[in-house]
Amino acid sequence: MAKLLRQRLLQLVLVILGLSSLVFFLVRISGDPASAIAGADADPETLAAIRSNLGLNEPVLVQYVRFLGDLLVLDFGDSYQYRSDAMALVLDRFPASALLTIIAMLIAVGLGVPAGVLGAVHRDGLLGRAVNGLAILGQSVPNFVLGLVLIMIFAVSLGWLPSFGGDGAMSLILPAVTLAAFICARQMRLVQAYTLEELSKGYVRTANSLGYSTRRIRYRHILRNVTVPMLSLVGLELGQFIAGSVVIESVFSWPGLGRLMVESVTARDYPVLQAGVFVIGVLVVLINFIVDLLYQVVDPRLKAQLVTR
């Protein structure tokens, strides 16, 4: 356990260092942030002043060393656009994305997993076809189209829900459902595939021979074994979407991290990009760590490995 923790910490440091350095050099190749800050008609003196204010006149390597030094104390500097602490800005947007993703994930898992199991069990029946159809539909309808259709129905026509997000639980519903639909579709397909695989395994036959009810077999035995591969998927998607779903955040005016990051790319807002990459890096490594720990809980074969390590 301590070993795993050490490994993950090392991994974290490497991931952050690698990612940050990559972003550092990539954004500096991409162009001059001064013009993005000053806009189209600032005079040359102002542009020069901006560059010198930001320390962009120094050699890149000097900037890099300074950047690494600041990274050590987690100081990312001020956002070029917002003129306020970049990390604070990222952390301000982060909860919105996290909340949206977690709610969406709960909806997706809550619906997708049972639907996937049912789809597998009734593979050739009406239910199986329905699950297949829904999964394909969910994956092929673009996010923004679904989002706008939901807005038209629930906000414009029925007037039940607000058309854009950011305040209150009600405004969470539509974006969460839209995101969930997308995640759910993928999960349904995967759970279905995994379940089909499990269905042919010997322990299902054993359970049948022991006269267990179908429900017990499906939701106690099969599901538990399906959970193992599902965990890594859920972990991956959690990381991906907490980092932000730009499309959904745009359609629903959801003030999340994804939009901030894309804005920052366009505006060459280096500090926000660096802070964002840092947070996302930590997050992904952390989620992976949690998934690893959960693996040990659900998969005894891995627990044994951990003990021997």
Binding site: T206, G211, H221
Partner: protein, 635 residues
């Protein structure tokens, strides 16, 4: 022991099982008849596709949704086939205990074995968590698992194969069923634990007065435990009688042929009388007697008229038109003597070995720690193989024999040691030099299908090595492919077929043909017959012997079945825990085994002639007899 006059526990009469498939209905079981009485063991013996497992699944309500049954199955006089849904589930759970072939996959990997046993009692008996757990531990000790309190908390992967199967048995008897159904219960186990598991089963049968139906393809197992034997072929029971009758005085040519295909340590000096051809596909049975195309005694009548079961001895029935005549003439006894004597004049120049393995070691690190804990899969192994001879490498799972084979075939680099083949140390080779040696060294694996591209024809598969090594023009290569297929006993027509159209034996022949394409000097045969039916196994073993004699090949033959390894080998090396514990000429190993482990292996070999009733008649006397269960069996 069974009383002969006991009332049948389970009666199967005219059982038909049909599966709906995309290619039309497949008639897997055609009017099977058998019955089992309380306290009696019935063994249903047959090769793959004979319908033995399907009929058991039909009885136990485990057929998939596309399976349909007809006929009659009565349990204690009650109709079983009419039951459906929850009623059927409940009935089967209460009355049958079931054990399957692979205990690893038959147990849920996510729950402790204790949980899995307790779950049965909680579901069906409404037991409290505490009571169920207590009973689970009792059951574990009943099936002779030491330290049940500790074992109960372990997961299936933490137990050995034998222990897992004991856990399965414990689960099967948890509800005190009157009938115990075992589907190939020992096939996945090493021979050394096979006997003990069988003994436990028989012991429990007597203690719980159960009837036992045991499905197997292994004649030795059948002989060792059966009171009565039903032999199935192509969905029908072709012979039925007591174990003595069926296995010592077979009334059906198929039973006799099976016995003749079995490698036996007592008959190493004569060829196996293999059954030609392959078992028929259930979808395309030959007319008349299903066995007639492969039967050495077949006549025109056999091809036209379906034989029915006829009484051939006291209670023994066989479905053959000629049983009476063949029995009278003693023609069916040919298996006892074996086939033609083997020519034994092989040049065994041990001074000039073609293969020399010296101090071979292969280590795997355990975990990722720096503390240097390693697993020695191969531990200082040395042997030589003179040109044109066969060294058999026999051992149980985990003995290191397969790792040795991988190193020998150049697929794995050893940690240390030398592997000298034809004067070249392949352990130190790489790149082009390795490829040159590869040509002289071919490998045949256990599963022929997985080593073939399913989208290539057999012709292309056999041609590929020739193509890669640029052996001749297209026309020349085509001729060579036909020649190679002919060499392994396949018609040239097979060149146009695809792997999935072949039976297991045919596929293994193709794999051998491909291995021979580049005229290798050494063949590493890694369990090449382990996945094959007995009748096919004999064919391949004979083919390999024949090829060796004709082409002067050198073999390293790896196997777990001592009798089969002994049959093909000149010398045998016995491996255990990564070490060779004994290496000697075959006859010496058999007659004067030096190592205790070798004796143990020899003892575990079951021969239908000598081991008849071995476990059936002495249920409480062998290896684990000293272990007395600590808890009463019935609550």
């Amino acid at each position: 022991m069974a009383g002969a006059d006991a009332v049948p526990l389970l009666e199967v009469e005219g059982l038909d099982v049909t599966f709906d498939t995309l290619g039309g209905p497949v008639h897997a079981v055609r009017g099977a008849d058998w019955s089992v009485r309380q306290g009696e063991t019935l063994v249903v013996l047959g090769e793959s596709g004979s319908g033995k497992s399907v009929s058991l699944h039909a009885v136990a309500g485990l057929l998939p949704a596309n399976g349909h049954t007809a006929g009659r199955v009565r349990f204690q006089g009650r109709d079983v086939l009419g039951l459906r849904g929850a009623q059927l589930r409940r009935f089967c759970a209460e009355n049958y205990g079931m054990v399957f072939q692979d205990p690893m996959s038959s147990l849920d990997p996510s729950f402790t074995v204790g949980d899995q046993i307790a779950e049965i009692l909680r579901v069906h008996r409404g037991a409290s968590a505490k009571d169920a757990w207590q009973r689970a531990m009792d059951l574990l000790s009943v099936v002779r698992i030491d330290d049940p309190a500790r074992r109960a908390k372990q997961y299936p992967h933490e137990l050995s194969g034998g222990m897992r199967q004991r856990v399965m048995i414990a689960m099967a008897i948890a509800l005190d069923p009157p009938l115990f159904l075992a589907d190939e219960p020992t096939t996945a186990l090493d021979t050394s634990v096979r006997g003990a598991v069988l003994e436990t089963m028989i012991e429990l049968r007597d203690r719980l007065s159960m009837g036992v139906v045991l499905i197997t393809h292994d004649i030795g197992v059948a002989a060792a435990v059966a009171d009565r034997v039903a032999v199935m072929y192509a969905g029908r029971v072709v012979e039925y009688g007591t174990a003595e009758q069926v296995l010592h005085q077979p009334g059906h040519p198929y039973t006799a042929a099976l016995l003749g295909s079995l490698p036996r340590l007592r008959r190493l000096r004569s060829t196996l009388t293999a059954i030609p051809g392959a078992p028929p596909n259930a979808a395309r049975l030959p007319a008349g007697c299903s066995f007639h195309p492969r039967c050495r005694f077949a006549t025109d009548r056999c091809a036209e008229e379906l034989p029915v079961l006829q009484l051939s001895g006291a209670g023994q029935v066989a479905a053959c038109h000629w049983t009476e005549r063949l029995s009278a003439d003693g023609d069916l006894g040919y298996w006892r003597a074996g086939g033609d004597p083997l020519v034994d004049a092989r040049p065994g120049d041990a001074e000039q070995p073609f293969v020399a393995v010296e101090n071979l070691v292969k280590e795997y690190p355990l975990g990722s720690g720096r503390k240097g804990r390693v697993l020695r899969a191969v531990d200082d192994v040395s042997f030589t193989i003179p040109k044109g001879t066969t060294l058999g490498l026999v051992g149980e799972s985990g003995s290191g024999k397969s790792t040795t084979a991988m190193i020998m075939s150049g697929l794995l680099a050893p940690t240390s040691g030398r592997v000298v083949i034809g004067g070249v140390d392949i352990a130190r080779l790489s790149g082009k030099a390795m490829r040159d040696v590869r040509r002289d060294l071919q490998v045949v694996f256990q599963d022929p299908y997985s080593s073939m591209d399913p989208r290539m024809t057999i012709g292309q598969i056999v041609d590929e090595p020739l193509l890669v090594h640029k052996r001749g023009s297209k026309a020349q290569r085509r001729g060579r492919v036909t020649e190679l297929l002919d060499l392994v006993g396949l018609d040239g027509d097979y060149a146009g077929r695809f792997p999935h159209q072949l039976s297991g034996g045919q596929a293994q022949r193709v794999a051998i043909a491909r291995a021979l394409a580049l005229e290798p000097a050494l063949m590493v045969l890694d369990e090449p017959v382990a996945a094959l039916d007995l009748s096919i196994q004999a064919q391949i073993l004979n083919l390999l012997r024949d090829l060796q004699a004709r082409l002067g090949l050198t073999y390293l033959f790896i196997g777990h079945d001592l009798a089969a390894v002994a049959y093909i080998s000149d010398r045998v090396a016995v491996m255990s825990s990564g070490k060779i514990v004994e290496l000697d000429r075959v006859d010496a190993i058999y007659q004067r085994p030096a190592a205790a482990y070798t004796r143990q292996l020899l003892d575990a070999v079951l021969d239908p002639e000598t081991d008849l009733g071995r476990y059936r008649d002495r249920p409480t006397t062998r290896k684990e007899a000293s272990c007395v269960p600590s808890a009463p069996v019935t609550p």
